[in-house]
């Protein structure tokens, strides 16, 4: 055997397959298969080939074993094989298919001996379903009875495709593979969503989800409201404000549905504080900020710490960071808003500027009544 032509795990599979073959032809098969393997292009094709070699080796071994047995012993083996109980678990459609196949063989036998008068209409009735016609054609082809096929062709139109080897995967395997892929994808998505909230779902989806699922808090039309959240976050809500709060394991999220509020977010290990304003999403680890939602406009003032502004792709549809309504170009807003910075955002525009301490305090003057 000349090593080195084909190497790696696929060649190893072929090597192991050849070892399963009868000793007398084991070496020949290994060399032959490795040579044929190297003539194939593509890893998938080679892997399929190698796995097929495993099956081939077993089949060859079984055939050799059967031919070395004396004739009487061969009969015993054949009898045992035919008497062996089939696997107990069968899907309903599998049982039905088997019954159709048995009927097909019975009808082929009857066709060979010649149909009796009363059997003709019965056969015609049996052949009515297409599945029956396909099954009996395949059974006839497997038995290699050209006369059977000729007779069948007189009874109904036989499509040659029925007896040709099926190209590609069987539908059952395709469906099973599809289901498995769907399950694995769902698991991966669930894991990602739980470990990195906000990464998979767009802010808009999360926002509406939050609004529907979160706990709502509202302030009166003429009164301010102050409340504390489970992680120690302090919220002061201006008049006519509504927020929705959703705290779950591993995530803390708040949504400003309308109005204006000031948040003081304490740090919490490995927990990002997500907040949505309308459909816009922001996040911070720890900060103090005031946010106001007026119609479609958002004004976010960072008083302390930093707030992460979403990348461009997370803005609302049609959003353009740098072009405001008046058409004058402004520098795009930073990804990270620092203390004393104001983010002004409206439909089709987003801009940031730095405030003085007094300007920042003026923005939360409403808290003093």
């Amino acid at each position: 055997m000349n090593p080195g032509w084909a190497q790696g795990p696929i060649a190893w599979i072929v090597h192991r397959a050849a070892l399963s073959a009868p000793d007398t032809i084991c070496q020949r098969l290994e060399e032959e298969w490795l040579a044929d393997l190297s003539a194939l292009d593509g890893a998938a094709l080679q892997l399929r080939f190698a796995l097929g070699c495993c099956r081939a080796a077993l089949a060859i071994r079984c055939e050799r074993f059967a031919t070395t047995l004396p004739k009487t012993a061969r009969n015993i083996v054949a009898d045992l094989r035919s008497a062996r109980p089939r696997a107990g678990f069968r899907l309903p459609f599998s049982r039905r298919r088997e019954r159709i196949r048995e009927d097909a063989y019975t009808w082929l036998e009857r066709l060979r001996r010649g149909l009796r008068e009363e059997e003709g209409p019965k056969l015609q009735a049996w052949l009515r379903p297409r599945a029956h016609r396909i099954c009996i054609t395949r059974a006839a082809a497997q038995r290699i009875g050209p006369e059977d096929l000729a007779v069948l062709h007189e009874l109904f139109h036989v499509d040659p495709a029925w007896v040709m080897p099926r190209q590609g995967r069987s539908p059952t395997i395709s469906v099973a593979a599809g289901l498995m892929a769907a399950c694995m994808t769902s698991l991966a998505l669930m894991y990602t969503h739980h470990s990195m909230p906000g990464l998979l779902l767009s802010p808009a989806i999360e926002g509406s989800f939050m609004e529907a699922q979160g706990t709502g808090y509202s302030s009166g039309r003429r009164t301010l409201r102050s409340l504390g959240l489970p992680d120690g976050t302090r919220v002061v809500m201006n008049r006519g404000t509504r927020i929705s709060v959703l705290y779950a394991e591993g995530t803390r999220s708040v949504m400003l549905v309308r109005g204006e509020a000031t948040f003081t977010v304490p740090p919490q290990a490995h927990k990002v504080f997500h907040f949505w304003v309308g459909n816009q999403h922001f996040s911070t680890m720890a900060s103090a900020f005031n946010v106001r939602l007026t119609g479609d406009s958002i004004q976010l003032t960072v008083l302390d710490g930093t707030v992460e502004v979403p990348p461009m792709s997370h803005t609302r549809a049609g959003g353009n960071f740098a072009v405001p309504r008046d058409g004058a170009e402004r520098p795009p807003a930073p990804r990270l808003l620092k203390a004393l910075q104001l983010l002004d955002e409206g439909p089709g525009m987003q801009a940031a500027r730095t405030l003085t301490q007094s300007e920042a305090q003026a923005r939360i003057a409403w808290q003093r009544g």
Binding site: L34, A39, I60, A141, L152
Partner: protein
């Protein structure tokens, strides 16, 4: 070699393999060539080739090349024996396999 045996178990795959050889009876084909022509799995092909070889329908030999010069391993080449050609042609003709089943 054993005496050619007409009683070879026939299947659709066996006929496809025979068909690949009967098309050009003088050609010598390796397993990979037959795989490409017939599109059947290797797990089915090699038992068929060995079965037909032991039945005397095929004979095989190693390709006469120097692997070091050719840059590839030598292949096992199969070809139909005259008896094999006769039997194969008769099987294929009776089934009209090459024109698509059935006639």
């Amino acid at each position: 070699m054993d005496r050619p045996n007409h009683n070879v178990r026939m299947s659709l795959q066996t006929l496809r393999v025979l068909d690949a050889f009967v098309e050009n009876p003088n050609d010598e084909l390796s397993g990979a060539d037959v795989l490409k022509r017939c599109g059947i799995a290797s797990g089915t092909l090699y038992p068929i080739l060995l079965r037909l070889e032991s039945a005397g329908w095929f004979k095989s030999r190693w390709e006469a090349i120097d692997p070091a010069k050719a840059g590839r391993p030598r292949r096992r080449l199969y070809r139909l024996t005259p008896t094999g050609l006769k039997y194969a042609s008769s099987e294929l003709a009776s089934l009209s396999f090459r024109r698509g089943l059935p006639v």
